[in-house]
């Protein structure tokens, strides 16, 4: 589905992404981990068009999308949620999702009909059901809990029915119990939808529990790639992580 070939990106003299080649097969559920500053978010930004790689290819279903505008990449089926929930504070949860769905249905520039069109409303109801946000649907996005805001952010991306869904730390800023609840929801969404899911996560326990395949980044380069067991026993990973106290810090 999504394949990176020798992607390089540097800022000034600092190499943020160093010759990264990765493959995310169709329907896979992968995690990207690594210490702070390892280049995880940069990698996401490169894939979603927020940044343009200096060299290398980013192939979505064998089509190179490197350097395309975010709008075009979204249209080709790469959805994204953000580390800090990126939502529409003055709209209700329902309205936000309807807007996203309308955009997906290419009706966001329609002027001669009332909002929301019936098909948008129907699809939004399904989404709310899927996300389990029925209780908060009519609350303003600014007024719901942090966890719900993160979930809404994911929901916005889901509204586009992406082929590839990229979640930047879906559990950031949550308590332990909430984290497990959230990752459970993510996993359920992946199971119910037909998509390739990639997420960034700090909490090792979550990653090892959920991800089919794990990519470890360090200093912008791929340190290791494999299943939970393989990564757990990878000497360099152990050193990279246990050598620092990032793990402990992140899981607090």
């Amino acid at each position: 589905m999504l394949r990176l070939e020798n992607v390089v990106k540097s800022f000034g003299g600092v190499v943020a992404t160093n010759d990264v080649s990765l493959n995310f097969p169709t329907g896979s559920l992968s995690a990207v981990i690594g210490p702070n500053g390892a280049g995880k978010t940069t990698l996401f930004n490169l894939i979603t068009g927020h940044l343009v790689p200096d060299s290398g290819k980013i192939l979505l279903q064998e089509e190179d999308i490197a350097g395309k505008a975010p709008v075009d990449i979204v249209r080709k089926g790469v959805g994204r949620a953000f580390q800090i929930a990126s939502i529409f504070p003055s709209m209700t949860v329902e309205q936000s999702l309807m807007c996203a769905v309308a955009s997906h249905f290419r009706t966001s520039e329609a002027m001669l009909s009332v909002f929301p069109p019936p098909d948008v409303r129907q699809r939004t109801e399904e989404l709310i059901e899927l996300l389990g946000m029925g209780a908060v649907a009519r609350l303003l996005s600014a007024n719901i809990s942090h966890g719900d805001q993160k979930l809404l952010d994911i929901g916005l991306a889901l509204a586009l029915e992406p082929k590839v869904l990229m979640l930047d730390e879906p559990t950031a800023g949550m308590g332990p119990e909430e984290r497990w609840q959230m990752i459970g929801t993510v996993r359920r969404l992946w199971e119910q939808g037909d998509m390739t899911l990639i997420f960034i996560e700090h909490d090792m326990d979550i990653v090892f529990e959920v991800a089919q395949e794990i990519t470890v980044l360090s200093y912008g380069a791929v340190l290791a790639k494999g299943t939970a067991d393989e990564i757990r026993n990878h000497p360099e990973v152990v050193e990279a992580y246990l050598g620092t106290d990032t793990h402990a810090e992140a899981s607090q």
Partner: protein, 337 residues
């Protein structure tokens, strides 16, 4: 046709509103309500169309009055041209109206295409620069525009379809219809999917882009539509004063429109209309008692901005929304228990 069914409630309200306006204008045997309301129509269209940019899209334009003035000038200049009225006869007024709207629209495409790529303060300054540019063109191009004296000698208004705009009753009804029609167009736009896309851009333009919205294009469309509607406001004022004047393109006109929005409320559809009404009344009442109008209006603005911190209708809306949200939140809690 489905449009009319979907918006039947708003259309009905608009129709009732129009009937009330016409009843006030024709029913009261005094010219004052007609004059007052006509000037409100013009000011409110300027303010409401500007609010499509400010309130709905989050684009603070300092140069919106340029389009208002341009509409008035195109309309007036065409009707003052004997060649134009001679060729079109009874069709002159409607054609001039359409030409004013389209002409302003085309001009705003050019200005908008340059401006909408910038954000916040830079957008504001660039729109201001273009407005002042138009203002200095109007002042300097005396042969065409009459310079500071504006379009002199009255605007001829050939009778069309039995409508004689030289007659104050006909003119009032015509302006009322134009006003209500424009308000309805804005209502439909802001309640359509497009209108909600504007809200997305206002709240979080980056996120909107990541949801596949072509932010620049949507902003530009909104810019052009709102400019075109502002031009209708200019046409109404041109009919009202039987002339067009460079002051309409001066930055203070935009400033006043911004204040009307702020005063009435920028998050409520009819907020700018209330703002226009309140400001006009305030201005007129103060004029009756003192010549120091500026200081009084200045103090009132200070009070609204620093005291209320939002417009009148925004205040009401926020109160209502808060209440509703609290109720919903309480229901959720109860539901979970």
């Amino acid at each position: 046709m489905s449009l009319f069914i979907e918006f039947r409630r708003d259309l009905l309200i608009a129709l009732v509103g129009l009937v009330v306006l016409i009843a006030i204008g024709l029913g009261i045997d005094h010219a004052w309500p007609r004059d007052f309301l006509t000037s409100i129509f013009a000011a409110a269209l300027l303010a409401m169309s500007l609010n499509m940019l400010i309130g709905y899209t989050g684009l603070v334009s300092f140069g919106h009055a340029a389009f208002f003035a341009l509409g008035g000038y195109i309309f007036g200049l065409l009707l003052q041209s004997p060649a134009f009225t001679g060729a079109l006869g009874a069709g002159s007024v409607p054609v001039a109206l359409v030409a004013a709207v389209i002409g302003t629209g085309v001009y705003s495409v050019v200005i908008g295409a340059i401006c909408v790529r910038l954000t916040e303060i830079y957008f504001a300054f660039l729109t201001l620069a273009f407005q002042m540019f138009l203002y200095s063109v109007i002042l300097s191009w005396v042969d065409l525009t009459g310079g500071d004296q504006g379009l002199m000698g009255g605007i001829p208004r050939p009778v069309f379809l039995g409508i004689d705009l030289a007659d104050q009753y006909h003119r009032y009804v015509f302006c009322a219809v134009l006003f209500v029609a424009c308000v309805m167009i804005m209502r439909i736009m802001t309640e359509s999917p497009f209108g909600y896309t504007l809200r997305m851009i206002r709240d979080n333009a980056t996120r909107a882009a990541f949801l596949g919205v072509n932010v620049t294009r949507v902003k530009l469309i909104c810019f052009v539509v709102s400019s075109s509607i502002a031009s209708v406001g200019g046409v109404i004022l041109t009919l009202f004063t039987s002339g067009a004047y460079p002051e309409w393109a001066f930055w203070a006109q935009s400033g006043e429109a911004i204040f009307m929005i702020m005063l009435g409320g920028l998050n409520v559809f009819l907020g700018p209309v209330l703002g226009a009404v309140v400001l006009r009344i305030l201005n007129d009442v103060v004029q009756m008692y003192t010549s120091h109008t500026e200081i009084v209006i200045g103090v009132v603005i200070m009070f609204v901005v620093l005291g209320l911190r939002r417009g009148i209708l925004d205040f009401v809306k926020d109160w209502w929304v808060e209440k509703q949200q609290a109720r919903l939140a309480a229901e959720n809690r109860n539901g979970q228990e």
